[in-house]
């Protein structure tokens, strides 16, 4: 038993140590990146926008940007949306999309906009159905706890339990995903030249024309995927889409309705509507192969129908334009208009925006 305990203890200690080092390296990278929001100008992009705390970045960015006329809320699935696609100038548009965003994130970002007195004329919400699934444990929004708490406290609601956020972070110390990222990050750190390690935020900002194959974030908050991801063959994308759907990537197979999220969305929309914001919401399209899996599975279809019904009812009550584009044929978007099972290419997003109810445009 001693050999077992020693080996297990040592291996776990190594994992925790690597992840702790990786977290430290990430914090260094991030400290540089977090200085970017104030320096980024239209026509420029921020490099290194991968595995960073997007909430912190957006918090910094919203302080800097002028008041946008149109904003989008949503997950990574809406991050390709640009001012040009929406049909407004670059300074009039801002994309608030963030990976794994939930209703709490929208609330936190809205609170920042409100506090900065940058209330937009129009808000577009891309709503992933999984955000209403209580079985999906997505806690990235906890970075915005302060803002969310302010919003909730103003309405006499219970505020967020910070201890749970700490526990989620602690669990990451023995997480495979974090380990993989930590190893990659540490390898890069040790291989890079000393000058690059201590580089200033300006080294992370380049003109959009110079972005090359790298992943980057534009000044309007929209994302440019790295070249390798953009160039994946249709077969690779198709296989990825099926695998993602079959392993419950859409988060619909084990679905437990989360009424709190809908209540929070209702409160948010009421607040926005009271301040004169026109709201458009839609369910974003899936890759056709992913859609076939969802459509062919009674449980997933039922879950999606539940989300659809609840959103349609809420939207009609609050005078919000709502459209359901989960089925890619309803846009219509073809298989080659997706990066993977869920992320639509700009051509698909353009068609989607064209099909939004006329009153919302």
């Amino acid at each position: 038993m001693r050999v077992f305990s020693l080996t297990l203890g040592t291996l776990l200690a190594v994992v925790v140590a690597v992840n702790a080092l990786g977290t430290w390296a990430a914090a260094r990278d991030e400290a540089r990146l977090q200085a970017v929001p104030t320096a980024l100008r239209p026509g420029e992009v921020a490099l290194g926008y991968r595995n960073v705390d997007e909430r912190r970045f957006q918090r910094g960015r919203l302080v800097t940007i002028p008041r946008p006329r149109v904003v989008t809320f949503g997950s990574s699935r809406v991050m390709q949306m640009t001012g040009a696609l929406v049909g407004v100038g670059p300074a009039a548009f801002y994309n608030l999309g963030m990976s794994g965003a939930t209703v709490e994130d929208y609330v936190g970002l809205w609170e920042i906009l409100r506090r900065q007195d940058k209330i937009p004329e129009r808000a577009i919400f891309s709503l992933d159905p999984w955000i209403f699934n209580a079985e999906v444990d997505q806690v990235r929004w906890r970075t915005l706890t302060r803002e969310i708490d302010t919003f909730l406290a103003r309405r006499g609601w219970r505020t967020v339990d910070a201890a749970l956020g700490g526990w989620s972070r602690a669990k990451e110390l023995v997480s495979y995903e974090v380990l993989r990222d930590s190893v990659r990050r540490l390898r890069r750190l040790f291989r890079s030249r000393p000058a690059a390690r201590t580089g200033s935020p300006e080294t992370l900002i380049v003109p959009e024309s110079a972005v090359g194959d790298r992943q980057a974030l534009r000044a309007d908050g929209s994302l440019i995927y790295d070249g390798a991801f953009q160039r994946r063959s249709p077969r690779e994308v198709q296989e990825d889409a099926v695998h993602w759907a079959a392993t419950d990537g859409p988060g619909l197979a084990r679905f437990r309705w989360n009424p709190e999220r809908l209540r929070l969305l209702e409160t948010l929309w009421k607040d926005m509507r009271a301040r004169g914001v026109r709201i458009t919401a839609f369910l974003p399209p899936y890759h056709p192969a992913t859609w076939r899996v969802i459509d062919g599975d009674a449980r997933q279809r039922e879950a999606l129908d539940q989300v659809r019904r609840a959103l349609a009812e809420l939207a009609s009550r609050l005078d919000v334009s709502f459209a359901d584009f989960a089925d890619p044929a309803s846009v219509p978007c073809a298989a080659d208009e997706f990066f993977d099972g869920q992320h639509a290419r700009p051509s698909c997003l353009r068609k989607l925006l064209d099909r939004l109810p006329a009153t919302a445009r």
Binding site: M1, V3, F4, S5, L6, T7, L8, L11, L12, V15, K171, V174, S175, Y176, E177, L179, E239, V242, H243, A245, A246, T247, R254, R256, R292, V293, D295, G296, D297, A298
Partner: protein
């Protein structure tokens, strides 16, 4: 809360165990019952504990009254109260949805869509583990009624028997005579944990679940996702993968449950005895989900007449037992088909036992494995058309052969590894865990560390849905 979650391993288990080790008597039993209820409340919805508490209170009371009652008619009435209560709850939570869907389909076929509105009321969420604890308390009540067991007078001990968290959600299906005396013993003497045998067996189970079952599931699920375009090679690969996935998933859970029981000084019954080494369908059912097989034999098959009747009647009894056993696994007619398949295999094996015995043992083993594995098609498919599609692909009438991918190679390798383990390695309970050589200890530790790191991405246990 899953056994394979950090919340369970770092918070729930150590706290429960540390306090339990300091307690004796009633406080210990109360602590075990309380923590088990808390564990269950985190297994899904908090309200899951309501039907379990109803079952516990009703059966505790009914058993006491049955024991004190002499009149056979009144005893039968009391038994009926318990059966109606237990089976009523199970029927409502588990089978009302099936009934609703069947009526829905029938209504649509007859052009009566109005029925839909009524049946929606019966489509409810299934509380995890309800099938397990219902069968446990049923066997207890029936044994008290038969006079084969005394009624338990200590309510907390009875509550501990029903809810003891290691076996609560997915078994092993533990009978009263297997658990209540052990709870009485630990209450009297305090817990004497079998640390080494418990922790190491738990780790073996964790590795089976995370390193084998989940990896297999990750590769099999995309193949079986709608619209299920399977060529023959992939159909067989998916079948082999699923047969091993469900084995490692369920037997891994059982190992973890038995290991946890040992940490509390309690030995839970064996549930798997290398089922894929079975040499006949009957042998398979003596090795697969052994506690359920024993329950069905003792309380259903024998009650129907068992072997003490004509061969024709015996076959009917066997079929009824297996079909109901199939439906116990899930509220879907495909599970009834799975039970029917196994019933037919058992009946055919009984009818041809002599000829079967003349086959070389290796043939018996391989044929049994093939037949049992084919049955998993009904178990995994969600609809009959899906099952038919899969069978057609297995028979060579599927989609045209697709390109061989790295995923297919990975699945093939995992299936080969899984088969080697399932067919050649000793059973988890046969492993000499108390005196494991240092090198094997290090190997198990490395595998456990890998499983712990991958655990955040593991899926729920397949048997949670039953």
């Amino acid at each position: 809360m899953l056994f394979s979650s950090l919340e369970f391993l770092i918070l729930f288990l150590p706290l429960t165990l540390v306090v339990a080790l300091r307690l004796r008597g009633q406080p210990l039993l109360r602590w075990i019952a309380l923590t088990s209820v808390i564990f269950y409340a985190f297994a899904g919805h908090w309200w899951f504990i309501v039907p379990m508490l109803v079952t516990t209170v009703v059966d505790y009371w009914v058993a006491l009254v049955i024991e004190q009652t002499r009149a056979p008619g009144r005893r039968r009435a009391l038994l009926a109260v318990s059966l109606a209560g237990n089976l009523g709850l199970l029927a409502y939570f588990k089978y009302a949805g099936l009934l609703a869907r069947t009526v829905e389909a029938g209504g649509e076929a007859l052009g009566l869509p109005g029925l839909l509105h009524v049946t929606r009321w019966f489509d409810v969420i299934l509380p995890a583990g309800i099938s397990f604890y219902t069968f446990q308390t049923l066997s207890y009540i029936i044994d008290v009624w038969r006079g084969a067991a005394p009624a338990e007078r200590n309510f907390v001990r009875f509550a501990g028997f029903v809810s003891f968290f290691p076996h609560l959600v997915a078994g092993p299906l533990t009978r009263h005579h297997q658990l209540i005396p052990q709870l009485a013993r630990i209450a009297a003497t305090g817990i004497d944990p079998r640390w080494r045998a418990g922790i190491l067996l738990f780790c073996v189970g964790l590795c089976k679940k995370v390193l084998l079952a989940d990896r297999l599931g990750n590769l099999v699920d995309p193949l079986l996702a709608p619209p299920m375009e399977l060529d023959t090679a992939r159909a067989w690969l998916a079948l082999g993968g699923y047969a091993l996935q469900i084995y490692f998933d369920f037997s891994g859970y059982t190992d973890m449950a038995i290991g946890l029981g040992r940490l509390f000084g309690i030995e839970l019954p064996q549930n798997f005895n290398s089922p894929y080494k079975a040499t006949s369908p009957s042998d398979f059912w003596r090795r697969w989900h052994m506690t359920l097989s024993a329950w069905l034999r003792d309380y259903l098959y024998i009650t129907l007449g068992g072997n003490r009747c004509s061969p024709a009647r015996r076959r009917v009894n066997l079929m009824v037992t297996m079909i109901l056993g199939g439906l116990w696994h899930g509220a879907n007619w495909t599970f009834a088909a799975w039970g029917t398949w196994h019933g037919l295999m058992l009946v055919m094996h009984q009818a041809n036992a002599e000829r079967w015995e003349r086959l070389p043992v290796a043939w018996q083993r391989n044929l049994t494995f093939l037949l049992m594995t084919l049955g998993w098609v009904f178990f995994r498919a969600e609809t009959f058309p899906q099952a038919a599609h899969w069978f057609a692909a297995l028979a060579g009438f599927g989609a045209g052969a697709g390109p061989w991918t790295t995923e297919a190679t990975a699945l093939l390798a995992l299936v080969a590894l899984g088969l080697l383990i399932a067919r050649l390695a000793p059973n988890s309970l046969e492993l000499p865990l108390e005196r494991l050589p240092p090198l094997r200890q290090a190997g198990l530790a490395a595998a456990t560390a890998t499983a712990l790191v991958l655990m955040n991405y593991s899926s729920k246990f397949l048997y949670f849905q039953f």
